[in-house]
């Protein structure tokens, strides 16, 4: 145990705390300050109080983006955790090729999100149409041309890419479960599924917390895929929060409003994610 007052506690935290302060918190505070000004990314000429915050609540695009993002987050959080954990369980079974599959499922992460989006565009526009033609399935056609297919396109790409990421986190925790406990459960007669639900899953509760958090926060923050796959289109119908924030800054040079949006975004996402973390933490046990 380390005590709060102990020097080592603070020494151990110094590198990361200092870096975090320098890189995140100080800039965030500056950003917070700017959100009360008319900053254009270079200078500001006056303080505007809460004007930016008032404005953003009337910003239809922002509100649309918010609900679109919420839907996206709900779907991807569920899919990613189910599939990620499923993949993790699959590849930790010892069968031929399981190691190879680990690499395969993780590979999408080795390419940046921007390039991926471009590649998936080909798949949606050409691969899906070709497939749709061949199979006479009309729903495979016209992908990314409207909100619904844009939404599912984003979901597919995100799941395809991040499932491997979530998988290796689950794997890392799965490997950490002591053998003996699993053995005890086998002796107690637990089937593979029961071992999973009663032993494995509770014991990787921290992984669940982490992955829930990651999928939640990444879902909210997703930008590259959005940009490269649909670019928010058509008519902003698939524009997500991060993109709206970025566009506010870039396209209209309204950096101050963008900061305000970012702060609101941060508060909302933090509230949801941290509640989730706190809730899940409660269920974890220290061994």
């Amino acid at each position: 145990m380390m005590k709060n007052r102990s020097l080592s506690f603070w020494l151990f935290l110094t590198p990361t705390l200092v870096a975090l302060a320098l890189v995140v918190f100080i800039p965030v505070l500056e950003g917070l300050f700017y959100s009360f000004t008319n900053w254009d990314g270079l200078t500001y000429t006056k303080m505007v109080g809460f004007q930016n915050y008032i404005q953003l609540f009337h910003d239809k695009a922002f509100i649309n983006a918010f609900w679109f993002t919420v839907g996206f987050v709900i779907v991807t959080v569920i899919l990613l955790n189910v599939i990620g954990l499923g993949l993790a369980l699959l590849v930790t079974q010892k069968f031929k090729g399981s190691n190879f599959l680990r690499t395969v499922f993780f590979m999408p992460n080795m390419i940046g999100g921007l390039i991926l989006g471009f590649i998936w565009q080909f798949i949606f526009t050409q691969g899906f149409s070709a497939l749709g033609n061949a199979l006479h399935m009309s729903w495979l056609q016209n992908w990314l041309t409207n909100e619904t297919t844009g939404f599912w396109g984003l979901v597919i790409v995100t799941v395809w890419q991040m499932a491997g990421y979530i998988m290796i986190i689950y794997i890392a925790y799965l490997q950490n479960i002591p053998n003996e406990v699993i053995e005890a459960a086998e002796i107690d007669g637990a089937s593979a599924w029961q071992r999973f639900t009663k032993i494995t899953f509770p014991m990787i509760a921290p992984a669940f917390t982490v992955c829930m958090f990651l999928t939640l926060s990444n879902g909210f923050k997703i930008y590259d895929q959005n940009l490269s796959l649909t670019n928010g289109g058509p008519y902003h119908s698939t524009q997500m929060l991060a993109m709206d924030i970025v566009n506010t800054a870039y396209n209209s040079s309204n950096f101050a409003l963008s900061e305000a949006k970012a702060m609101i975004f941060f508060v909302i996402v933090a509230a949801i994610s941290l509640l989730q973390v706190l809730y899940n933490r409660k269920r974890e046990v220290d061994l």
Partner: protein, 270 residues
């Protein structure tokens, strides 16, 4: 598990894997096509396959130099992230106070901040102390990436028995020695994971280095984006470039994967 159900699983896995690999099929096959070939039919195999793209891409990326920069930055950043995050997580996990809980939430919440909103203040601050270079970048990565790493480590630490610390403490080990000689090695499967995730993130990162690095220190992704103009996108070079630039990561991943072994704590306590 029985042999039969294993092979069923295996087949299912392989099928899934093939679907998963499809985009890579596109990347690799198209990287051997001429620009015309790519757009004639993205989905087909190359008709006249060419390795020119690789040669040209290699040159255009200034590959050896940018590889070196990428490597230096990635390795340096990942090493300090691993060390810093493991230390931080250790301190937080082994201290059961409100304070450490609060600090953990602080770290976690840092992950929620959209990068674009801190981008300008951040670079302005680093610029004002003339730290816009590789080393500044490494520090930024420590700041941005350590949160996730701490979070990951923190979860694993709870499964390393406190008895390990106690035993080492009884033997006269200082806090640092306990961490470095006992705890850190036991975290190694998670360290591998943390390393992989950070390597991926840093290796592919474009935005931050584009703001921070001087041209003389450009990394592979920065060079790669020279293939993507406003109008002209040189897919043939880009795809070849992607293929060669992810090779080091795949190789690392394949090697690292072996280290994610089971049962690091087996035999530790009754």
């Amino acid at each position: 598990m029985s042999k039969k159900s294993k092979s069923v699983l295996g087949i299912f896995g392989i099928l899934l894997g093939i679907i998963w690999l499809f985009p890579f099929y596109l990347i690799v096959t198209n990287s051997f096509k001429t620009p015309k070939g790519i757009f004639a039919s993205v989905l087909s195999l190359p008709v006249h396959s060419t390795t020119d793209n690789y040669v040209n891409s290699f040159k255009a990326l200034d590959f050896m130099a940018s590889l070196t920069h990428s490597l230096i930055i990635t390795v340096a950043a990942v090493l300090i992230i691993i060390l810093g995050a493991a230390m931080g997580a250790y301190a937080l996990q082994r201290n059961k106070s409100k304070l450490s809980g609060g600090l953990l939430l602080l770290f976690i919440s840092a992950m929620l901040i959209p990068f674009q909103s801190v981008m300008i203040p951040l670079t302005a601050n680093f610029g004002s102390v003339h730290f816009l270079n590789m080393w500044g970048l490494v520090i930024m990565y420590l700041g941005f990436q350590s949160s996730l790493s701490i979070f990951l480590y923190q979860g694993t630490l709870s499964s390393i028995p406190l008895a390990m610390d106690e035993a080492a403490e009884m033997e006269g080990a200082s806090r640092w020695q306990i961490f470095y000689k006992v705890i850190f090695p036991m975290l190694s499967p998670m360290t591998v994971t943390v390393a992989i995730l950070n390597i991926i993130a840093i290796w592919n990162d474009y935005l931050l280095p584009s703001l921070v690095l001087p041209q003389t220190q450009y990394t592979i992704p920065l060079q790669m984006f020279n293939f993507f103009g406003q109008y002209t996108k040189q897919w043939h070079l880009a795809l070849a470039g992607i293929t060669i630039s992810i090779l080091p990561v795949i190789i690392f991943y394949l090697i690292a994967q072996k280290w994610i072994i089971k049962g690091v704590t087996d035999g530790a306590v009754k």
